[in-house]
């Protein structure tokens, strides 16, 4: 009996102990800074990212957020600056293009070392791009025009094209344009990339990667551009999906930089000392594609009516918290090919009703289905706001959240009646050219890929194909043509051009040197950054 009494007492003591320790642990959290730490001298940059930093380590194949990692480990021949519309020379020192636009010659930088110690030559460039094209995965199609790559000598590479293509833009693409060490990759064992290995020449090397959740990079001593001045010794990119956690990390100074926080959190951070909010254009825009093969959306009047019913300003203000601009045309602000002079719809419910009447649609007769990507709060709110607006003109909109692939499959259904009526998605360019939008989204397609409106207009096709070909040699003329093409598009209204997203960065005040380049979505080029004291 005594035993059991004792047992009960011991158990209750244990419980009290557990609870007490918990409370004490919470109270005593501030002692950390008192302890000496040998790592004080190492400067670490911390990027809190909203999903996995990288899932696929293969630079020829990787076609999603992994670029935030790979663009620090690997380099491309050129880097595009959308503000000046000019190119920075990275691995290439110079380049030229032939009269007919079919031969591009790149002069390579000498003395560039890869992380495995070998020096970069034309062979590495040829190997890298050949490999990317052969594998045929990811964004490899950007090199589609290339028929042959010749290593003329150690530091000169020639690209022979079968039709004109802006190879400088292609070579500076954030995807599929990385140069890797032929030595390392050619002789690599199977699954070398899957096991998180890299063969880059970039300023940072991979130190460790925890299952794609956290990537730690460290400086590459022999980087060709040297390490004069202030730089970070280590870079950590970590997955932190909860927005409240990311916000807290920035507030406390645990993380240096993050983006994609809800506008409410951004407003709160604006008031916080030690945090700076930087707003930049991104090249991502949200577009709502009408299923133009399904009645009554095949009637342009109906599509125009629906375009007049979209609450553009409300969506910008409330779905994105003000961090967006209503789109003008297909190409977003800040990107070449954008024109402020194009026609822009505004919310006008009366006009919308009028057009619906003209089209013969009765009040309450029209029922539509809109799909958006599940998990995206802004898309969801945009859809909900649109639904509320449409109910005011007697149109019933059903909104449905679906994972991207499911949504996409639904849109690719052979039978137009089985597809959704409105498909909303973000688009951003793989290569910094308006062709990326106009071709992928609106060019006639036999088998639909991303032309979710099923739009087909021969005149439009010809204009943009032509513009694409001359964009390598005459970028001004190309831009004119791309703008002309958008005029046709807006006239036909196969989509609602919703908004151009702005990228809102929350940055620690001591993190300096960051200048966002939207051609490289969400990428932080850490080499340019440093800690200020």
């Amino acid at each position: 009996m005594e035993v059991f009494r004792l047992m009960k007492r011991k158990l209750s003591l244990l419980l009290v102990f557990i609870l007490l320790t918990g409370v004490l642990a919470g109270c005593g959290g501030g002692d950390v800074s008192d302890d000496p730490s040998p790592q004080d001298e190492v400067e670490i940059a911390y990027y809190a990212y909203n999903s996995e930093p990288i899932l696929n380590w293969d630079p020829s194949v990787m076609f999603s957020n992994g670029i935030i990692v790979l663009n620090n480990i690997y380099e491309t021949l050129l880097r595009f600056d959308p503000k000046t519309k000019e190119f920075d020379y990275l691995l290439a020192e110079d380049y030229s293009v032939s009269e007919d636009g079919l031969t591009w010659t790149f002069n390579l930088r000498e003395g560039v070392k890869f992380h495995d110690g070998t020096e970069m030559t034309a062979e590495d460039v040829k190997f890298s791009i050949d490999r990317t094209m052969e594998l045929g995965k990811g964004a490899s199609y950007i090199w589609a025009a290339v028929s042959e790559i010749i290593a003329v000598d150690d530091y000169t590479v020639e690209f022979k094209l079968s039709y004109p293509s802006p190879l400088d833009l292609v070579a500076s693409s954030p995807y599929a344009a990385f140069i890797m060490s032929k030595d390392a990759v050619e002789n690599a064992e199977e699954n070398w990339f899957e096991n998180a290995n890299e063969a880059g020449s970039g300023p940072y090397m991979l130190e460790s990667a925890a299952m794609g959740d956290e990537v730690i990079m460290t400086t590459f001593e022999d980087y060709w551009n040297g390490w004069e001045g202030d730089h970070f010794d280590k870079v950590i990119i970590k997955k932190t999906s909860e927005t409240s956690s990311r916000r807290q990390m920035i507030e406390k100074g645990d993380a240096d930089i993050t983006q994609s926080l809800p506008s409410e959190d951004v407003e709160a951070l604006k008031e916080t000392d030690g945090v700076e909010i930087v707003v930049e254009p991104s090249f991502t825009n949200l577009i709502g594609f009408f299923n133009t093969e399904k009645q009554p959306l095949d009637n342009p009047k109906v599509r125009q009516a629906l375009s007049y019913a979209f609450p553009y300003q409300d969506v910008v203000d409330y779905a994105v918290g003000g961090y967006a601009k209503q789109s003008i045309g297909v190409i977003p602000f800040g990107h070449w090919g954008h024109s402020d002079d194009l026609f822009q719809y505004t919310k006008d419910l009366d006009k919308a009703k009028e057009l619906l009447e003209e089209a013969g649609i009765e009040d309450g007769e029209l029922k539509l289905l809109l799909t958006y990507m599940s998990g995206d709060e802004s898309e969801k709110k945009s859809a909900e706001l649109y639904k509320a607006e449409l109910s005011k003109i007697g149109v019933e909109l059903e909104i449905r959240a679906m994972p991207w692939e499911t949504q996409w499959e639904m849109a690719m259904n052979e039978d137009p009646a089985e597809r959704q009526d409105i498909f909303i998605m973000y688009w951003w360019p793989d290569t910094s050219s308006p062709y990326s939008w106009l071709y992928s989204l609106y060019h006639s397609e036999e088998e639909i890929l991303f032309n979710m409106s099923y739009y087909s207009n021969e005149e439009f096709d010809t204009i943009i194909d032509n513009a694409a070909e001359i964009s390598g040699t005459d970028i001004e003329k190309a831009e004119e043509e791309f703008i002309k093409a958008q005029e046709i598009l807006i006239e036909d209204s196969p989509s609602i051009f919703m908004y151009d997203k702005e990228e809102v960065w929350a940055i620690n005040s001591t993190f300096k040197g960051f200048e966002y380049n939207p051609s490289y979505p969400l990428v932080v080029f850490f080499y340019d950054t440093y800690r200020s004291k």
Binding site: E242, T243, S244, R247, Q248, P262, E264, D265, A268, D314, D317, Y318, S374, G375, E377, K380, K381, A383, E384, L385, K387, A388, S391, K392, I399, R400, A401, M402, T406
Partner: protein, 296 residues
């Protein structure tokens, strides 16, 4: 003659019912729970009539009033698009109760006949059905519901179906147990002897005797089912925006947690209250209807 017998059984059942209600009222907690349940049902029936869900959703959307803290005008505050959270919580009552009742109903429809057949006919049929039941019971219910809902597709109807599929084995077990014991009773053997068709015996004798334990189990389950629906919606597998479902509201509120803490609290409170009330009721019913504890 048949009517007479029927009337007699009816009278006896009614007397028993009155007795039960009396016992129910004696236990204070159960009485409170009972009133709570009535209140919920009233809300579920009346509110959507006064305030049809879709109209509310469309007309109430007022984004400039988003995330307001609780006030007289908005007792629970507003959500991310300016909709009144109080109204949404009330509307959610109908959704939760409806879905739960249908899910349990379907589960009963599947489970009870299977259990009766297994118990009464025995033999290979019994083994077969019980093994299948065992397999389904090898999953914790929420897990199976998650898996099924994920593969059927995320919406409320599929969540309902998923729950029904996860829950039916429990009822089969109960009914089978009852059937097995009843099978041995004199009057059943007698009915058999005079050639009454088996199905008739099942329906007239076996099933009515299962009603009590089934009611207990089902009422205890409704709480759990409502919780499962909310959990599925929380994960993204049940109700979808802009449906005012409680679990979905708590999930959405996470994005605004640091700015509008009240948004997370109230829908969750609704879930808690509803599930609690049903659980208490079920608990009380069990004590009343279960002969063993009744002795005390």
């Amino acid at each position: 003659m048949i009517e007479n017998r029927f009337l007699k059984t009816l009278k006896a059942k009614f007397k028993q019912f009155k007795q039960n209600v009396f016992l129910l009222k004696r236990n204070r907690l159960t009485k409170l729970a009972f009133y709570g349940v009535i209140a919920l049902f009233l809300i579920a029936i009346i509110v959507p009539i006064a305030l049809p869900s879709d109209i509310h959703v469309d007309q109430d959307t007022n984004p400039s009033e988003k995330l307001l803290s609780p006030s007289f005008e908005h007792p629970f505050g507003t959500d991310e698009l300016g909709r009144d959270v109080f109204k949404r919580v009330l509307l959610g009552t109908r959704i939760s109760l409806n879905t739960a009742l249908i899910a349990v109903g379907i589960a009963l429809l599947i489970g009870v006949p299977l259990g009766a057949i297994a118990g009464y006919f025995g033999g290979f049929l019994d083994e077969f059905i019980m093994r299948i039941t065992d397999v389904f019971l090898g999953f914790p219910p929420l897990l199976l519901a998650i898996a099924i809902a994920a593969f059927l597709g995320p919406n409320l109807q599929n969540a309902m179906l998923a729950i029904a599929i996860a829950w039916w084995p429990w009822y089969t077990r109960i009914v089978r147990g009852q059937a097995v014991s009843i099978k041995e009773r004199q009057f059943v053997k007698a009915a058999n002897a005079i050639g009454t068709p088996s199905m008739k015996i099942v329906f007239k004798h076996v099933l009515p005797n299962c009603v009590a334990p089934l009611i207990v189990q089902a009422s205890m389950d409704i709480g759990g089912v409502i919780l499962t629906i909310a959990s599925l919606s929380f994960l993204g597998l049940g109700a979808q925006s802009p449906t005012p479902e409680w679990g979905l509201m708590v999930s959405t509120s996470r994005n605004y947690f640091l700015n509008a803490w009240w948004y997370s609290i109230f829908p969750g409170l609704a879930i808690f209250f509803t599930v609690l009330v049903f659980n208490l009721l079920g608990d009380g019913l069990r004590e009343i209807l279960d002969p063993k504890t009744r002795k005390n």
